[in-house]
Amino acid sequence: MQLELLFEAFGKVMFDPINFLFVFIGVTSGIIVGALPGLTATMGVALLIPFTFGLDPVKGLLMLLGLFSGGIYGGSISAILIGIPGTPSAAATVLDGHPLCKKGLAGKAIGMATIASFFGGTVGALIMSFLSPQIAKIALKFGPPEFFALAFFGLGIIITVSGKSILKGLISGVFGLMITTIGFDPLSGCPRLTFNSTELLGGVTFIPALIGLFGYSQVFQGIEKILILPPVKSELKNIIPKFKEIGSVFKTMVKSALMGTFIGAVPGTGCDIAAFVSYGEARRSSKNPEKFGTGILEGVAAPESGNNGATGGAMIPMLTLGVPGDAVTAVLMGALTIHNFQPGPLLFRDHPEVVYPIFAGMILAQFVMLGVGLGGARFFASLINIDRRVMTPIIFLLCVVGSYAMRFSFFDVGVSLIIGIIAYFMNYYGFPGSPILLALILGPMVEQNLRRSLIISHGDPLIFITRPISAAFIFIGIFIIITSYYRIKRAMEKEEKMASVAEKERID
């Protein structure tokens, strides 16, 4: 590993006040976005990308990484204070965080969430920094069949982000792949499905599509329900936990951080699964499992250390293989592409000036998050109280500006609005948006490498299973798809059973 490059990047990033400022802006925005229920880290990163267009790529990426880390942590603030997770990854934090708040220990719970997030995030970022270059070296040996197999493996994630219906998730995924076929054909240059529109020759631009999927759709739902949803209120006192309290949960934090990082590194898992698995493990191995759920600090430390550990983990497959670990890293991958850096093994060889500052920036973001989190907890808590009737129009504006800024094009704003309306209806009819995002990212990679491989093999599809790395990805992909299918099916059956029991009790 090129340690000197890593240390040089650390020096540049850590001691440059401008870089520090961008990480600070990113982390602070992330905490705010994460703390506001309904706004996810994915949406935050998507909305911030247009603000990075005019910046030096490294500075822009540092800001986005700060937002990613801050966003995952920020979700815990509303989870603790109002019992609503700001982001899906903070869902497990509600279990003990909110009961602590009810006991009058909200400040302590937020303090513990901040320290555990810092710890988990730092462990994840360190593992990412040292493991990624090794994986990238192996990935440099890939040809078209391997890349197709890798993209197939990545598309397997669709199953895990499909929500309640795998069939509808697959439909969303194929719909997303169809969108990627609009514009110039990547191999022959023939314009496809453009209907004589010059604006469509380059295809549907990624950022407007992203803002439509995750920005407009949420804004439209917010406007629809704005007069029905009750207002939220939060209060906060005493924030920093005692050393003894931190010491008592240290073992849990270490275990959760390591588990979170490795779970995050498996494409298709993400921060929310890492948080629940960490919480479950902490409870399983605890001497007092019955206390979990009643409001204990260990129940906050475990999911927060786990979900922030997963942030570093999720970056590993995105940077080294060009396959995003989850929805947020898929958006980050789009940001790298927009700045003309194609994530994957070649990024390590051709652009070390970008890769190593990413590692350093991720670690710096954890320290900034610790300072901003502890120092600004009261302020962030007060933001939750902002009236939705003020916040929703502002987010609407950011969506419009964000979709315009990529190419200074009102056509893109229109495309974004249309995708937003489609996504709004999709939400109601049970079609998830994340598979479309994955398809938009991986679609061009699938098509190009599938056709190239078949041309190389003179049309023989066995090329994908006769090459060892390609075969391994295909089989692991199939294995993940099958196991995920049964896991989701079991979870759905359990949920249905619980719902029918609750319905029966209600009737009785």
Binding site: F51, F53, G54, L55, K164, S165, L167, K168, L170, I171, V174, F175, L177, M178, T181, D185, L187, S188, C190, R192, L193, F220, I223, E224, K225, I226, L227, I228, D387, R389, V390, T392, P393, I394, F396, L397, L398, V400, V401, A405, F408, F410, V413, L417, I421, Y424, Y428, Y429, G430, V446, E447, L450, R451, L454, I455, H458, G459
Partner: protein, 149 residues
């Protein structure tokens, strides 16, 4: 969601049939038949199978229960907000970005029944100036300019 699923399934079948037929015009024989039409056709076949599965699934009674339903009044509110947004986009070229943005925010907040006029005024002026300044001076990205600014 049985009826909805059947309707969507039929829509997907129509979409995939049309796509399969339409991309036929891009067919080339030189590269073993893997021309520009190859991938869209594969996707069209996949979508047809998935659409058919959705219909069969619904007919077998395996559709998910409809969760949250669209609130009709809220839906109209959403459509009006889109119309306000379109008006805003037209106004940006006439009045300029900052002025139109202020009017958009103030108008939308009023439409969403935000009662405090001072809150509406302050938040729309502050946001419009902040976003305009970031794009103009910090990111140096051109924004539409009209009669005002």
């Amino acid at each position: 969601m049985k009826r909805e699923d059947i309707g969507i399934g039929v829509g997907l079948l129509i979409l995939s049939t049309w796509l399969f037929w339409y991309v036929g015009r891009y067919r080339v024989k030189e590269i073993y038949g893997y021309g520009p039409d190859f991938f869209p056709r594969v996707l069209a076949v996949m979508m047809a199978i998935l659409g058919l599965s959705l219909i069969v699934n619904a007919l077998l009674g395996n559709s998910l229960k409809m969760g949250d339903r669209i609130d009709p009044k809220g839906f109209v509110r959403m459509l009006i907000s889109i119309a306000i947004c379109i008006g805003y986009l037209i106004l940006t070229n006439i009045l300029g970005f900052a002025t139109a943005t202020f009017l958009f925010l103030f108008g939308l907040m009023t439409f969403l029944r935000q009662k405090g006029i001072l809150v509406r005024l302050f938040s729309s002026v502050a946001t419009a100036i902040l976003v305009w300044s970031i794009f103009r001076y910090f990111l140096v990205i051109p924004l539409p300019e009209g009669l005002l600014f």
